[in-house]
């Protein structure tokens, strides 16, 4: 669009400076109008061949991680400058994490019946208070070796460990363990974040980000062109999505299935899974998605796997009719199939009859695992290509 405007302006300028008889002026104008029309036509056609994928989902469902993975897989990835830019983010994440844990321990010590186990050791208390204060600042200081040591000490406190394992009622981020385990590396003087670090880094997305990419096929031929949009997930940002809704090829809805026992960041009385359920229902009802395929990514399977044994699914109201059948790997599969079925039911309940032809597929993902994301995306790509062929009547 912008380049077209430029063209018009340019030609207008040169046009005015010429002296031409009137009838020639007319035909020149027509020629330019025709050129502009052709240009618009070409670019519209080009746009149509770009498949637009919209990442939706509640906050912390893993949308941005998927976004980063796609960048790493199909674009040039992160260059050193960009990696460096994540250093402060990661340091901030570390401070935020330990603050949440320490404050959380204090809260649990006051309110929980079994409070003694949440009481931090006396000699760690000062460290805790100090870190809590740092974590509440807008700008966090650089992570030095000394501070890292203090954080590690606090992390190893049994009260903090106890708090971490009961982190569901607090807002402990899922990657807390990852951050704590890598403190030493993070506090190196010349620390440059790795790809893995960047994937774990937690930045709340505001506004919209997009990337255009083309997954290269097996035959080294360029595949379809995709444009992926990532939007903010928290409640107060949903209105920003609206103007993007028209005509997306596919909605990739991310749902973190490990969150069935956690509360929202924005509203700690609301269960996250219920929030996801309501959001999914809302999205399904939008008329702008009537023709879009729905790819449901049931994300954070790695955390789900471990949690299922500790915390029964029934703590979430949506899953209250769940009946465990055994233990071990079979139980995990059983629980997963149950959750999948719930989402499926929700999908069909909220889809109008004339949307029946819409493609709907469910994928099990762990957004942090690059190989898995690549395999999953290969399947998504195959589905969308087949859809194209079906719609063109070639299949």
């Amino acid at each position: 669009m912008i380049s077209m405007l430029y063209f018009v302006v340019e030609s207008m300028g040169s046009f005015c400076s010429r002296q031409q008889p009137l009838n020639e002026v007319d035909s020149d104008e027509n020629k330019q109008a025709a050129e502009i029309d052709k240009r618009i036509d070409r670019e519209t056609k080009a746009e149509q061949h770009i498949h637009k994928l919209l990442l939706l989902g509640a906050g912390e469902s893993g949308k941005s991680t998927i976004f980063k993975q796609i960048r790493l897989l199909f674009q040039t990835g992160f260059d050193e400058a960009e990696l460096r830019s994540y250093t402060s983010v990661i340091h901030a994440n570390v401070y935020q994490t330990i603050k949440i844990l320490y404050d959380g321990a204090k809260e649990l010590a006051e309110n929980e019946p079994n409070s003694l186990k949440y009481v931090v050791r006396t000699d760690n208390k000062e460290i805790g208070e100090n870190l809590s204060e740092i974590g509440s600042r807008m700008e966090s200081p650089c992570l030095t070796k000394e501070i890292a040591k203090e954080i590690a000490t606090l992390w190893n406190d049994t009260a903090i460990q106890e708090t971490y394992s009961h982190g569901n009622i607090l807002q402990v981020p899922d990657c807390a363990q990852y951050f704590m385990e890598n403190l030493e590396r993070f506090s190196e003087v010349n620390y440059i974040p790795t790809k893995e670090d960047v994937l774990h880094a937690r930045v709340r997305t505001t506004g919209v980000v997009e990337i255009q990419f083309s997954p290269v096929g097996e035959s080294r031929k360029s595949g379809e062109v995709y444009r992926l949009y990532d939007v903010g997930g928290q409640r107060n940002e949903r209105r920003k999505w609206i103007h993007l809704f028209e005509g997306v090829t596919s909605v990739i809805f991310c749902a973190a299935i490990s969150e069935y026992d956690q509360m929202l960041f924005e509203d700690d009385t609301k269960n996250r899974m219920m929030e996801t359920k309501e959001l999914f229902e809302w999205v399904l009802k939008q008329s702008c998605f009537e023709k879009s395929s729905f790819m449901l990514f049931l994300n954070k399977f790695d955390i789900f796997e471990k949690k299922v044994h500790r915390v029964p699914l029934n703590v979430c109201e949506w899953f209250k009719d769940y009946q465990p059948m055994g233990s071990g790997k079979q139980e995990v599969e059983h629980a997963y199939e149950f959750v999948k079925k719930k989402f499926e039911e929700l999908y069909f309940q909220n889809s109008k009859p004339d949307c029946v032809d819409r493609a709907f597929k469910i994928y099990r993902t762990t957004a942090l695992d690059q190989k898995l994301v690549k395999k999953t995306f290969k399947l998504v790509d195959e589905t969308l290509r087949r859809r194209n062929l079906i719609e063109a009547g070639l299949l």
Partner: protein
């Protein structure tokens, strides 16, 4: 075995084929290919050892033309033990002896009276017959071994190759399995089936998955294999392919699931997802592919026999979709659809969906005329259930649709007594709101319209 020196060429009756014993033995009558022969040109010991009778039975005689001179004129079968009469005609020993024992003293083909009742074994002919059948038998065996060898090769290659090469290998294997039934058991024994099953998983591409299912659906699998195929991830994969594949893939997937459902260990609450039901309904409505419709209805009929799934079926709008499908089905084709609707009428949601759908009564009534006895039974059952639920509205609809005339025909037809009774009860139900004269006039009117 002593042999006479043959002339360089024999001309045989019918066919004009030139045969001499040496070439017949070495090169076969149709040329090409060879038999192992001993140094003196006799038939190789191996050939003799192969039981002629077995070879004759084993050979698909329709596939190749057995030379007419090898056929016994009495039984019209290839001769295992040819004997010659004094007239020079040759017959199967058992047959001609039977003929003679019945008291006939003539040669069956020439009708000449026999001056000598001796039967002489025709060793020459026996050798020719043996040679001919041996050659073909051994060739057939070799071909089958080649096929098995190639199949084994393909299975091995599947362990190593990926991507497009893998898809090609599976495609070739599938074509072979369809063309050579003997492969089906071989594949199971050699671990090919296990390998193919292992290719199915949550990350299997459509290309690979559809070809694997195309093979598996042609095999008869044992219970263990079927149990391993019933893992939820593998079933989900099949449902996805049912949604997205070509018509052949869809039909294969449908038949595949039907095959798995027959197993005792099939757990319907887990296996029969809403996506599957929606996909089957979509297939059943696809007018371009009648065999797809038939396959989908067949599986839905089997699914409906499980009561737990019925409410799920109703929740995805099966009732309306099936009712609207009825006019497009042939009389035989409509039986499964009617059966499904009848099963769905046994649950409250299904029954009210039937009642609410405006096409239920007209479409079902129309089928009463065309359907077989099984179809009539289901149709009557549906109409009975619906009319009993809401007699006032439904009865008048039914009468308008011409039900009474059809019921009269059913009652008058030669169907079983229960059906007649059901029809009579339904007739009574319909007539409740009408005076006798009005009702009779309605019946007559609709009959003349038809």
């Amino acid at each position: 075995m002593p042999q006479f020196q043959q002339h360089a060429s024999w001309r045989l009756e019918g066919g004009g084929q030139v045969i001499d014993l040496e070439t017949a033995v070495k090169d076969g009558i149709l040329g090409g290919g060879g038999l192992p022969t001993g140094k003196d040109g006799t038939l190789g010991a191996a050939a003799e050892k192969l039981d002629l009778k077995k070879m004759i039975e084993g050979l698909d005689s329709a596939a190749e033309d057995v030379p007419s001179v090898f056929i016994c004129p009495i039984s019209l079968e290839p001769m295992v033990d040819p004997v010659t009469l004094c007239t020079g005609q040759t017959y199967e020993r058992a047959n001609i002896l039977k003929w003679l024992s019945l008291g006939h003293l003539t040669c069956p083909t020439t009708m000449q009276e026999l001056w000598d009742d001796a039967v002489t074994p025709n060793r020459t002919l026996h050798q020719l017959i043996s040679a001919w059948f041996s050659q073909r038998y051994l060739l057939g065996k070799k071909r089958s071994e080649d096929v098995q060898g190639r199949a084994a090769e393909l299975v091995q290659s599947l362990k190593k190759v990926k991507g497009q090469a893998r898809v090609e290998a599976i495609k070739e294997l599938q074509k072979m399995v369809v063309a050579h039934p003997s492969l089906r058991n071989a594949l199971a024994d050699s671990g090919g089936v296990a390998l193919l099953s292992s290719l199915l998983g949550p990350f299997t591409s459509h290309a690979v998955g559809s070809e694997v299912i195309a093979i598996l659906v042609n095999l008869s699998l044992d219970s263990d294999t079927k149990a391993s195929l019933m893992q939820p991830a593998r079933i989900s994969l099949v449902v996805d392919m049912l949604n997205e594949g070509t018509i052949d893939t869809k039909i294969n997937c449908t038949r595949y699931i039907e095959m798995l459902m027959a197993e005792k260990s099939f757990r319907c609450e887990f296996m029969l997802s809403l996506s599957l039901l929606v996909a089957l309904l979509r297939l059943a409505k696809d007018k371009r592919h009648p065999n797809g419709i038939a396959a989908a209805l067949s599986l839905l009929e089997a699914i409906c026999s499980h009561e737990q799934v019925r409410s799920s079926l109703v929740s995805v709008g099966a009732v309306t979709q099936l009712v609207e499908l009825l006019p497009n089905l042939s009389p035989e084709g409509s039986v499964p659809a009617l059966h499904i609707l009848d099963d769905l009428s046994t649950i409250p949601e299904g029954l009210s969906a039937l009642k609410d759908c405006p096409q239920t009564i007209p479409n079902t009534v129309r089928l009463l005329m065309r359907a077989s006895e099984a179809g009539v039974q289901y149709a009557l059952s549906i109409l009975w259930a619906v009319c009993r639920l809401a007699p006032d509205e439904c009865a008048s609809l039914a009468v308008e649709a011409g039900l009474p005339a059809n019921l009269l025909l059913v009652i008058q037809s030669g169907c079983n007594p229960e059906l007649k009774q059901r029809a009579a009860e339904l007739l009574k139900l319909c007539s409740l709101n009408y005076t006798t004269t009005l009702f009779i006039s309605k019946c007559k009117l609709t009959r003349t319209i038809q």
